[in-house]
Subunit: 499 residues, 3 copies
Amino acid sequence: MCNVVFKCFSVAVFSFLACCFVPGYAQEPPVSPATQDCISCHLTATPAMVLDWKKSRHANTTPAEALKKPEIERRVSVDKVPDKLASHVVGCAECHAINPDEHKDSFDHNDRKVHLTVTPRDCSACHPLEAEQYKKNIMSHAYGNLANNELYQSLMTSINGVQSFADMKTKVAPPDEKTTADSCLSCHGTALEVIGTQKRDSDFGEMEFPVLSGWPNQGVGRLNPDGSKGSCSSCHGRHLFSMKMARKPYACAQCHKGPDVPAYQTYSVSKHGNLFFGLYGEWSFEAVPWTVGKDFSAPTCAVCHVSLLVNNEGDVIAKRTHQMNDRLPWRIFGLIYAHPHPRSPDTTIMRNPEGLPLPTSLNGEPVKEYLIGPEEMEERRKTMQKVCLSCHTTDWVNGHWARFEHTIKTSDDMTLTATRIIEKAWKEQVADKSNLFDEALEKRWVEQWLFYANSTRFASAMMGADYGVFANGRWSLSKNIQDMLDSLKLLLETRKGRQ
Amino acid sequence: MCNVVFKCFSVAVFSFLACCFVPGYAQEPPVSPATQDCISCHLTATPAMVLDWKKSRHANTTPAEALKKPEIERRVSVDKVPDKLASHVVGCAECHAINPDEHKDSFDHNDRKVHLTVTPRDCSACHPLEAEQYKKNIMSHAYGNLANNELYQSLMTSINGVQSFADMKTKVAPPDEKTTADSCLSCHGTALEVIGTQKRDSDFGEMEFPVLSGWPNQGVGRLNPDGSKGSCSSCHGRHLFSMKMARKPYACAQCHKGPDVPAYQTYSVSKHGNLFFGLYGEWSFEAVPWTVGKDFSAPTCAVCHVSLLVNNEGDVIAKRTHQMNDRLPWRIFGLIYAHPHPRSPDTTIMRNPEGLPLPTSLNGEPVKEYLIGPEEMEERRKTMQKVCLSCHTTDWVNGHWARFEHTIKTSDDMTLTATRIIEKAWKEQVADKSNLFDEALEKRWVEQWLFYANSTRFASAMMGADYGVFANGRWSLSKNIQDMLDSLKLLLETRKGRQ
Amino acid sequence: MCNVVFKCFSVAVFSFLACCFVPGYAQEPPVSPATQDCISCHLTATPAMVLDWKKSRHANTTPAEALKKPEIERRVSVDKVPDKLASHVVGCAECHAINPDEHKDSFDHNDRKVHLTVTPRDCSACHPLEAEQYKKNIMSHAYGNLANNELYQSLMTSINGVQSFADMKTKVAPPDEKTTADSCLSCHGTALEVIGTQKRDSDFGEMEFPVLSGWPNQGVGRLNPDGSKGSCSSCHGRHLFSMKMARKPYACAQCHKGPDVPAYQTYSVSKHGNLFFGLYGEWSFEAVPWTVGKDFSAPTCAVCHVSLLVNNEGDVIAKRTHQMNDRLPWRIFGLIYAHPHPRSPDTTIMRNPEGLPLPTSLNGEPVKEYLIGPEEMEERRKTMQKVCLSCHTTDWVNGHWARFEHTIKTSDDMTLTATRIIEKAWKEQVADKSNLFDEALEKRWVEQWLFYANSTRFASAMMGADYGVFANGRWSLSKNIQDMLDSLKLLLETRKGRQ
């Protein structure tokens, strides 16, 4: 322990000296004694973590100062912060030592109680509105909506389970925890649970740390050791936690770039993406509020789905939201078909007429009681269209939306045709319905709705051209039906041959 | 109406005040009274549209000033502009109220005749050379070349038509207008026709607007309400219309990023792309003329295909062109095979020996009468090579071109082999030739030339490595032949089984 | 010849004048007379080549000046450079006229001996450490490791050979030199051999040049005319040769972006990529040494695999390496399975138990005698983890690596299952083992390990989410097994039908 103290002392001396030279490291902004303690060791232990934080707004503003701004310019959403937080910058201890009683991962660390994870509940000390909104965001339930839905579990098994082959048959093992965390849950979030403690030697002597299952992870629906859901650092990367990162499309691309949800790709070939990539160097990603046409000339993901937007007169065009689907009437991510957005962020409660935990029947009928109704859809449509109308005329916007909502219908029709084919295979028993997703023909059916119909709809929503045609769009929708038809015929022929 | 006047008045007052604060909004550049009228309402109605324009060169220069520059530095290609345009900046009214008699979409709007669309003909008031060149650009005919070619129509049907399934057969419905506009025509351009009028309430009272079919759209071959073809905003995004956008590869990526025409992807993994992405922050995208090695150190799409280039002595290396294929001997986009560029931008006139509207026979023979000859090819090759030679030695350039033109041949050979297989299927009647593109095996054949042979050639042209090998390149060309062969065998076997 | 002299003279006069105006063109840095001669003509002949070089560090620093810096800040790795190189900037002649006796492509050019290619041996005059390290880099053997491995040759034939079709059979022609150079060898490197000379007219009269097979090329394992291997310009693009380019991920994307080795894609959807793309405009890519957290806040490829890194106290976190795999215990690029890195960069010496030139048996057993052992693996793991630990805590890093190394195992298991299926096909003689890679079913097997298992592992290594799931990840691994199983069944059924 003596050793630790000595090392920390020498580091503290060094870091005092360093203050004079590292640009941006601050004599000025008041750092709490607790955070100073953290830094004194961690500047050596994890130097980039500390230096990154030093560049952040958190490290250079106190909540009290933040509150002096007019409300519309604030990033905090409290009227008042607790006294103990108000007059120091937001440093290590302010986040990692807040709410220790709630945090099952809280542990003694150099005579302080700190916790490994920082959660939306912790952030809500200064950002309560965002935390509340995020609770209503379907993304905050991304873990449970996947892991607690028995149908999606069978999909996960068919993807993540290791298969073996013998006697002309394959067998699938249940997916293990590490694989699932590395796969689906890397975006959806893992369940962080304290499963023990571990002693480790460090430069500062032996120390004991909690061991968390599912760690590391920063998925959007992470189950946290304090019972909260999600991870603000999904979009606001540690330890800068910047708005400018989250306002660029790369933030969303982390999870929204696969063939299942090709939002980023679609955007990147749209006119909006063209404008962003070509001009963003001249835009402001720090301004709050964000003035359309002045701070930026084309939308990023955040513009349409999240940010507080004003016009040049300061009138609010769209309120900031961390619910994110409150500007969206439709959930174009097909499960199995596109559908109005669910009312509750918890989608495990849904049952379709076939008894499956899906928002639509296998024939595409939305299960109305779980989904928002026409009025709510219209309200959300209008909210989004108000953003469109900042740059586009009414006829432009109406034409675009008519086309988009028509594409929702036709892409669902093409899914229905694929469903008819797989249903025929199930009925004729050339495919086995016990798991809907594990045979070759079934997997083609999955690609119809999960890849091609989704891609077509995302392309239509954001005018991403080829993602609605040759790049997993209508070309694939139509080809896949023919491929499925040929496969079904062969399965039936060879069965006949065997009889 | 009174209401409109009042609102406009109050907006005008505001916007006068705004002038003093919004940076770049101009006391200086003379805005025409007509444009001032537009702005007085539209700064509220579509604020970002106006603010975007204010940042543009159009908003900050009069044509008369533009003409004071030495000819080689000009962006305008007239010697003189009409007096009424010369001494005001190019604002709303200058573009949306020009040529009203030609514009079927011209309508009365607050006591002025304005039209919704601005077309190449409108732009030709100041940019006539570009407009003339663009007429010769095959892209300007992209609508008709697709929509008026019966073979491509059957391809479009097979892609865009909604399929249904019953009795082990699929049936395709004719593609509807909205789908086609959302799909192929989003790049090719729609036919904009006035199909009626609509009254709408607005913040400024009830107003009547023309309704256009196919709107919105900014495809390269759009049929405009004034009879012209194309949309300058395809590449020069509204309302900035900047050269710097069009000079970056993102502009082209909007349409040239799919598996059918993977120009952007190929570029992005080339050395040229590497240099662009790594260094472009230090380049000038505004300089006219564009000096190789000084303003930029590696080509973007525009460098090789469009821009006016000079060397450091001011000698012209390549003239600006909006024909875009006049530096290209080959059309490497296979239909069905690569071929010398068509003589006429209207390709619907072509007939191959089989009577099909294609530039080559199904066996790959170019149909010479419709295509440029060897002398013209050599001239275009030399024009492009002069660009290459700015940075590369003669042996480098010759070696590259020899390899590229060899790849044209081998990729066509691999297409021919796939064609032999599909012809066998047609002959044996295990595939139905009535539509060449709608069955599973036929679709594999389409992918051979439309995806894999194209990708291989684009990769060769721009040294995009893996797009010529594993990313839809030779790996796919060779695998697809084996897949087609296996499918053909199965079709023949199961037919035998049924007999 | 008189003509040449005259032209060169007039160019020299011009270029003297040009010096006064072209910014950055230098009176100051001393250019050798030989290089001045080169420039006097090449500023006209290949102007961008010269202007690009002028912006380089090479053109603005002499080796003698470079040596005045503290060792840790140097880009050169000599203690002393030969006198003849020390006091002029590194220009055309310094590189293209060094070591003439070693260069088979050396030729008389305006009374000087120059060579077309510049090689790692040439660069080693000032950068010997990098050249030595690169010799141990498996990349430097990329040509021979491919071209001299009979198994990979059969893979290349199956990809690059032109196939023909007759009598329901396909036949493959041996791949030709141009195709191979345009395909695999564009990354792996070609064999540059002087195969003759050619006279060409130039602006400066008739000249004779050597003709090189395999030119142009800048692949990482290029066989050079001086017997050395590789091309520094693979990553340090000509003629800027900058560190800042090589430090950005675009440099690596040239070869590491295909489905076989999706490193760039994976990175681009990772948190690291998100941070890079969103923030790199504020980072320094020129600083030597490179301080984590200060110069950059998230890794690029170079950070983890190449660069000299220090913490804010100046302590070395990782030494610069051009071996590049010395921070890597595993080679996750499966051949056919992931395996510990080979001991020798020459992998043609390896033989597995089946006698095949592979690092593992067909069942996945690593062939230990050719691969690094557990101690070396642990040392490399620790070297890399020290980089991770600059930003992440120990528990984070341990958790990540445990998951990653588990994924290596499960992805190999999924490859083994696919191998069992193809082995069954070989055994039952429904596939022909004479070439392992040329039939449809075999090609699916290849995609299992070359595309899907690789993608899954790269995604796990760099937390690239969807590349481990739907974008060629576990979804494809599991679907492909079912597709292979169905195909095997059909092959067996139809054989039975024929019997």
